[in-house]
């Protein structure tokens, strides 16, 4: 486990070492609509751009934003943290902030290979798969041109297999978290998820399989209040840790870098690109893509039932428009089905007292009687 946690914490080191070791190219990506299989088949390591939180005096010049991940990504690029990247990619309609960050970064670093990928918003139109297929062909061609070698069908098959295996293993961890008394808590599981978006999947899979074996033998934790995390993607596990310090546990999430990342697989077919297109069109969508506004709330409710969750935390980044616009649909279904939830906003920093108050009051509301002893003290982790 140490390796996954280390990998998530020292996120740049892994890719730098990978690069030094293999001499390959590293491609940064912003969102989970980018079909990593294509890059992977070309021998390129796809690495997700994740935000950190640190003082920032650089990004304001380039972007007017209230979105801390977008600002921080720019800050990190300008500080040279991502110098190991050879390329950068983003896709249509993920969110305007990430798109803005992509634009600022590629304008600052014109030497990067960059591609803006079209992804239909109207995912269920029968022409959507044709349009996406055509876009994947363009992208494949561009990657081939960039790496200087063709992407063979065998390489694509291999990439699909590696990625599917990884998704299966990650889902296995979620399965383990369904247990009444799981042996793994939310923060640890989220670190594995973050690591999976940084690591070479072929390297990660055996480690992950071994890790899961260990988990199966591990002693379960005590009975804890089971929470679910819904909302804007998170790039660290501080919220989960705070929940755990108060006697709760995040057993499942509906985050773009959580369940949505690994929930469905590519179903192989002869036309590899179509197979990949269908996987991405059919995945659990994030708010921007969820065009009929019925699937995501329903999906959230299904996860709630599956994981016998006590209550849902709906947490969004300040000024996150996609999640802001989806709040209504999510609140509505949760209220109609009598699911307790608590909504709040987060930012780069989590003020421990304010957030701790929310979490504790929410947990007390779910299962009264949970009280803390005087002298209880949260670590300073601002």
């Amino acid at each position: 486990m140490a390796s996954f946690r280390e990998c998530a914490a020292g996120r740049h080191r892994y890719a730098e070492e990978w690069k030094a070791r293999t001499g390959g190219k590293v491609l940064g990506y912003f969102d989970t609509y980018f079909p990593e299989e294509l890059a992977y088949a070309a021998g390129v390591l796809p690495v997700r751009i994740l935000a950190e939180h640190e003082p920032d005096i650089l990004s304001d010049k380039w972007i007017y934003a209230s979105c801390y991940p977008a600002k921080d990504m720019i800050n990190q690029f300008l500080k040279g943290r991502y110098d190991y990247l050879d390329g950068l990619i983003t896709s249509e309609g993920y969110c305007q902030w990430m798109f803005h960050a992509y634009e600022v970064i590629t304008n600052n670093k014109p030497e990067l290979f960059s591609h803006y990928m079209f992804f239909p918003d109207y995912t269920e139109a029968s022409s959507a798969k044709i349009a996406l297929h055509s876009e994947l062909e363009v992208l494949k061609g561009r990657i081939e041109q960039w790496t200087g070698k063709g992407i063979t069908d065998e390489a694509l098959d291999n990439a699909i297999e590696v990625y599917n295996t990884n998704r299966r293993l990650l889902r296995k961890i979620y399965e383990l978290r369904r247990a009444d008394r799981p042996a793994i808590l939310g923060a640890e599981a989220m670190q594995v998820m973050l690591a999976s978006q940084i690591m070479d999947k072929a390297e990660m899979n055996p480690l992950l399989a071994q890790y899961i074996e260990e988990l199966e033998d591990r002693a379960p934790y005590e009975d804890r209040i089971r929470l679910m995390l819904v909302g804007s993607e998170t790039h660290d596990t501080r919220l989960e840790e705070l929940v755990e310090s108060l006697g709760g546990n995040v057993v499942v999430d509906e985050l773009d870098n959580g369940t949505s990342y690994c929930w469905n697989e590519v179903i192989p077919q002869k036309d590899r690109l179509l197979a990949i297109a269908l996987r991405y069109l059919g995945r659990p969508h994030n708010p921007i893509k969820d065009c009929n506004w019925l699937r995501r709330p329903q999906h959230i409710f299904e996860l709630f039932e599956d994981f016998t969750v006590d209550g849902v935390l709906v947490v969004k980044q300040i000024y996150c428009a996609p999640h802001g616009t989806d709040n209504y649909a999510v609140w509505k279904i949760l209220r109609e089905r009598n699911v307790p939830f608590h909504f709040f906003e987060r930012d780069g920093s989590i003020p421990v007292d304010e957030t701790g108050l929310r979490l504790e009051a929410f947990m007390n509301m779910l299962r009264p009687g949970l009280t803390r002893l005087a002298g209880w003290h949260t670590p300073l982790s601002i």
Binding site: F99, P120, D121, A125, V138, C291, Y319, N327
Partner: protein, 437 residues
């Protein structure tokens, strides 16, 4: 003569005709039995007119109208929206309108016309992309989407074609299904007639925006915005509208030839890049106290133009689309409409609006001295890349002012005094003083 007057100025003659046309149109839609839908028709041809009883209301103008007319009511609407989960990150246009929908009544107390269908379309701005969600909160009304993309980088003909095909498919499906669902016949002949009229009007409109490049500017941006809504008057009678635009174009040309200014004290020209705060157009007037005239923006002046190597300006051509479509079938009509629509300048979705130096050519063409850009916290599609564009403008010697707040459709963030203070600072910093008082 007013203090500081440099040019002759006089009101536009075309105004009366414009008002007459608008009144006529208002009357014609009042009596119409209709199915009201939410969404966007088209920037090019207003296809809804071809249905006998379908009206599509876009959130943008409807929302900004509420904000402009009645502050307390707009505030109430915003709150109704906010307590249902749609927070401050949402563009003011939508926040205001969606809230009204939940209140169930409009500013004048009349019931809010419930939307019977929705036509969302993706946009650079997230909250625009998610339009249509709110009217489905009440009942599962039908939804048709227009899908096309933002374009970054070199135009790739094949890629462009695939995207347009996708969009054609979506739009054609929409028209066909609407006929069936609402039991109405789509008038293809009318559509073709409108497309023809639109081509002519587009040329006139382009001429008018070209005349704005002259010093003194024959109009101010406020005039442009007033006439801007007239483009869609093909709704009524294509021929009459074409005639009107010809008359208007000729008048503006006459003004240019005779140096008749929109603002008699013009001594400073500035540009924008975004829709204005519709409820606070006062700032144009305030700037006029300094003899500063706004000559418009890529948003108001429309029609993407391209400079040929010989220096002439022509309408920009896009790969994957040609205007030479034989208009015979419904598919042809749709192809024509979506082809132009997908790259219409109002989306800010294409490369030439998103590049850091996108505004430089406009600034030089329109001979501006400075630029003023709004930044808003919520619904920020229209701030995209603005900071970088400002840097590029500064490098060619244009002064740039950023102001925050007051989204086009919401007054929440408007700090009037701070805004005016910044205008004073901007003007004084460039050595200008108020002409009046």
């Amino acid at each position: 003569m007013k203090k500081g007057q440099l040019w002759e100025t006089r009101p536009l003659d075309s105004w009366d005709k414009a008002k007459e046309l608008r009144a006529k149109w208002q009357k014609s839609i009042e009596s119409k039995e209709k199915v009201v839908g939410q969404g966007n028709t088209s920037f090019v041809v207003d296809w809804q007119v071809c249905f006998p009883a379908i009206t599509v209301i876009e959130d943008n103008p409807a929302g900004s109208m509420i904000a402009a007319k009645n502050d307390p009511f707009a505030r109430k609407s915003r709150l109704a929206c906010e307590i249902r989960g749609w927070g401050r990150e949402i563009c003011g246009y939508h926040g205001t309108l969606w809230g009204t929908q939940f209140l169930g009544y409009q500013e004048d107390g009349s019931p809010f016309p419930k939307r019977k269908f929705t036509v969302p379309f993706p946009c650079i701005c997230d909250s625009h992309t998610k339009r249509g969600e709110q009217c489905r909160a009440f009942e599962p009304i039908p939804r048709w989407a227009n899908d096309y993309t933002c374009y970054i980088g070199e135009y790739d003909e094949e890629r462009e074609k695939a995207m347009l095909e996708h969009r054609n498919y979506c739009s054609l499906k929409m028209i066909n299904e609407m006929e069936r669902v609402f039991d109405q016949k789509f008038d293809d002949d009318k559509m073709i007639e409108m497309i023809r009229a639109e081509s002519t009007i587009a040329q006139y409109r382009q001429d008018v925006s070209y005349y704005m490049t002259f010093k003194p500017a024959p109009l101010t941006v406020k005039d442009i915005y007033s006439f801007y809504t007239l483009g869609g008057l093909t709704k009524l009678d294509p021929e009459e509208t074409v005639n009107f635009w010809k008359m208007f174009r000729d008048e503006v040309k006459w003004r240019v030839d005779n140096q008749i200014a929109g603002l008699g004290t013009e001594r400073y020209r500035w540009m924008e890049a975004h829709p204005p705060s519709w409820h606070y157009l006062k700032y144009y007037r305030y700037m006029e106290q300094y003899g500063a005239v706004c000559i418009g923006s890529q948003y108001s002046n429309g029609t993407p133009m391209e400079r040929k190597p010989d220096g002439s300006l022509v309408e920009r051509a896009y790969p994957g689309f040609s205007k030479d479509i034989a208009l015979e079938t419904r598919e042809d009509e749709i192809r024509y409409m979506t082809g132009l629509d997908a790259r219409a300048p109002h989306h800010f979705k294409q490369d030439e609006y998103l590049r850091p130096n996108a505004l430089n050519e406009f600034a030089e063409l329109y001979q501006v001295d400075g630029a003023m850009f709004g930044l808003w916290r919520g619904g920020v599609g229209c701030n995209m890349l603005r900071k970088e564009q400002a840097m590029k403008l500064r490098l060619i010697g244009k002064s740039v002012l950023f102001f925050e707040g007051s989204q086009p459709g919401d007054r929440t963030d408007l700090d009037e005094k701070r805004f005016l203070d910044q205008l004073d600072g901007w003007m004084e910093g460039q050595g200008l003083r108020k002409l009046e008082d």
